[in-house]
């Protein structure tokens, strides 16, 4: 079945994906498809299980049960193969603060087996796109937060992966930088990269092609933003979320 979906251009397939930590179920039989080249928003409140889901899809965490395929590879048996085709930007800032911008980029370029010329060219292009050319030799620690986030995003895309996973990329960032970020995301998507982005900012949902909303470890809703608004009779995704989450809020999770 996954082959058929693959042929149709499905980048990520998850079926009944579950992850338990002891008695606590972080992800409870979640199922969804992400089509190649689309911007998929994986929404949910804090603690809803979004990061756990991303970690399972990127091969960082073994699922307890269920199936998932990323870029045509099974997450259980081919996690290393998956890693060749994906980029990842974690919630915590993960570039080396005591290295310069160029050194960080060069490091990841080398790890992804880009040759020296590719590294050089792509670095220059990236820095100029971000407006960081002058900061090429600066330590990452000395660059403002917003720029750092954008840099991390660009590094995740350095090796031109098929899919890029972004975990709360715009947390703690000012609105203007957020806008610029989404411009970068669109650019990536328009060149064919599938973007899987988690966020708890419901307004960012409008920027996505399709979204899913996680509530208490389960997928409460999935579809395009307009489909969901229609389904729930809401004016904004925020509203949709509130309607979904309310019964749960009243009985808090363990």
């Amino acid at each position: 079945m996954t082959r058929a979906l693959e042929a149709e251009g499905v980048a990520i397939i998850a079926r009944d994906l579950t992850r338990r930590f002891g008695t606590f179920t972080a992800c409870d039989r979640i199922s969804f498809d992400v089509r190649a080249g689309e911007v998929f928003g994986f929404l949910g409140a804090n603690g809803a299980g979004k990061t756990t889901a991303i970690r399972m899809l990127t091969g960082l965490l073994l699922p307890t049960s269920g199936q998932a395929t990323v870029a045509g590879h099974d997450v259980y048996t081919e996690s290393e193969a998956i890693k060749r085709h994906i980029g990842y930007m974690s919630q915590r800032f993960s570039l080396y603060e005591d290295l310069t911008v160029t050194e960080n980029v060069r490091l990841y370029g080398g790890i992804y087996d880009l040759d020296n010329r590719q590294i050089r060219d792509r670095t220059a292009a990236m820095l100029s796109r971000l407006g960081l050319t002058r900061a090429a030799r600066d330590l990452v620690r000395d660059i403002p937060l917003g720029w750092r986030q954008k840099l991390a995003f660009s590094v995740a895309l350095l090796h031109e992966p098929r899919i890029v996973f972004l975990d709360e990329p715009t947390s703690g960032v000012d609105p203007i930088t957020r806008r610029q970020f989404w411009e970068l995301i669109y650019e990536a998507a328009s060149s064919g990269t599938t973007v899987f982005v988690t966020t708890h900012y419901m307004d960012e949902a409008e920027y996505c092609d399709r979204i899913s909303i996680m509530v208490a470890g389960r997928i409460g809703a999935i579809g395009t933003p307009s489909e969901l608004k229609q389904q729930f009779g809401a004016h904004s995704i925020d509203d949709v979320f509130v309607r979904l989450a309310r019964p749960v809020q009243e009985s808090p999770r363990p």
């Binding site: 890693k83 005591d98 790890i111 087996d113």
Partner: protein, 384 residues
């Protein structure tokens, strides 16, 4: 392969830019070596002593003189009062009290034997045993001299006519004592190689454990885990810089040891550095293994310290392995530090060759293989 170089280069940059770690790795070991080598010694000079002489004869006075001129003892006071001596001991002012009984000289002449009492302040720890052996040596040397002095008198008085054996037919041994490898009995020659090993081990294990724990703490480790970088490549890149650093440190330490303490280098340096290279693989692998057990740098430091403590104390570094109870000695065979300490001392002080260090070297080889496998297995890019 190329990936390893990229990552290793980044590692080197980290170290170079981190001034605290640099100091830790280069400056402090040197300083520590210098200080430690001076402090860590069991040699005793000028032990304060008190004499209670009930005899007051020329023999007893000569005996006391032997003690005071030996260089090992410093006579703080002398009297006929045991109470005064006891007071001194209680106050901790003297380490030894020599008591000569009232008929010392007479007993010696008449019966050829006489007791003296040596009370050693055992609270001084290892010093007590050493003081005892110094005293013993002085006494037996004096005994022998007295024996020679008295013997002709005894024999000539008793030679009977018709005794066909010549007067010089007395049984006499001529014993020569030689000290091999450390003829000057220099304690530092013993200590410095051991200390070097300790310092180098600490650097290797502590820094590697800390380093990886730090990445875990910061979140950069996760970013690496998401790349196609394999476990083996990661480990190689991470450990290589520290391996090099530790070897460099060894070289620096060795030079300092030679310059400041005259530590000899009798064996092959190539062999020494070769063994060091092997040993460091073990030390670093242990650090790696520790890093998989902890989540924060602080924990890394504690666990490393805990484990290193055991290893170092049981390695024969401070006190000889031969002095440990047999079952502990067997246990210490499991201790890679012990083997490298043995190798360094054998190479540096005894001038041993490959054949003579083959056994500990084999142990180290086995450990390197085991520890690396264990550490690599333990390190997982994916949480279960």
């Amino acid at each position: 392969m190329r990936r390893i170089l990229f990552l290793a280069r980044a590692e080197v940059l980290h170290v170079v830019r981190d001034r605290a770690t640099l100091a830790q790795v280069l400056v402090l070991p040197a300083a520590q070596l210098l200080i430690l080598s001076n402090a860590a010694t069991f040699e005793i000079r000028d032990t304060p002593a008190y004499v209670v002489d009930f005899d007051g004869s020329s023999t007893s006075r000569e005996l006391v003189h032997r003690f005071s001129s030996s260089g090992h003892f410093r006579i703080l006071g002398q009297s006929a009062s045991p109470e005064a001596a006891n007071e001194q001991m209680l106050h901790g002012r003297v380490t030894m009290v020599l008591t000569v009984p009232a008929d010392f000289e007479r007993s010696l002449v008449r019966e050829g034997t006489a007791p003296v009492q040596i009370a050693v302040n055992a609270e001084k720890g290892a010093a007590a045993g050493i003081v005892q052996s110094y005293a013993g040596r002085i006494l037996s040397a004096y005994s022998t001299e007295l024996g020679v002095a008295l013997r002709p008198t005894a024999n000539s008085a008793r030679a009977t006519p018709g005794d066909t054996a010549p007067v010089t037919g007395a049984i006499r041994f001529e014993v020569e004592a030689r000290n091999w490898y450390n003829p000057t009995l220099n304690y530092q020659h013993y200590m410095v190689p051991g200390l070097l090993v300790a310092l180098v081990t600490l650097i290797g294990t502590l820094l590697s454990a800390q380093n990886i724990a730090r990445e875990k703490e910061l979140g950069t480790l996760e970013q690496l885990n998401v790349t196609p970088l394999t476990r083996g490549q990661f480990i190689a890149a991470k450990l290589m810089p520290f391996w090099v650093l530790a070897v460099v440190d060894l070289g620096v330490g060795l030079t300092l040891g030679r310059l400041f303490f005259g530590v000899p280098i009798r064996g092959s340096l190539l062999l020494l550095f070769g063994s060091a290279a092997l040993y460091l693989v073990v030390a670093l692998a242990i650090g790696l293994w520790i890093s998989t057990l902890v989540e924060t740098q602080q924990q890394a430091m504690f666990v490393t310290f805990f484990i290193m403590n055991i290893y170092l104390l049981m390695s024969g570094l401070f006190t000889p392995v031969d002095s440990m109870p047999p079952w502990v000695q067997t246990f210490s065979l499991l201790n890679p530090v012990r083997h490298f300490v043995t190798i360094s001392r054998a190479l540096l002080i005894k001038g041993a060759g490959l054949a003579e260090i083959a056994e500990p070297l084999l142990f180290l080889g086995a450990y390197a293989a085991i520890m690396l496998t264990l550490a690599v297995r333990q390190y997982s890019k994916r949480a279960a």
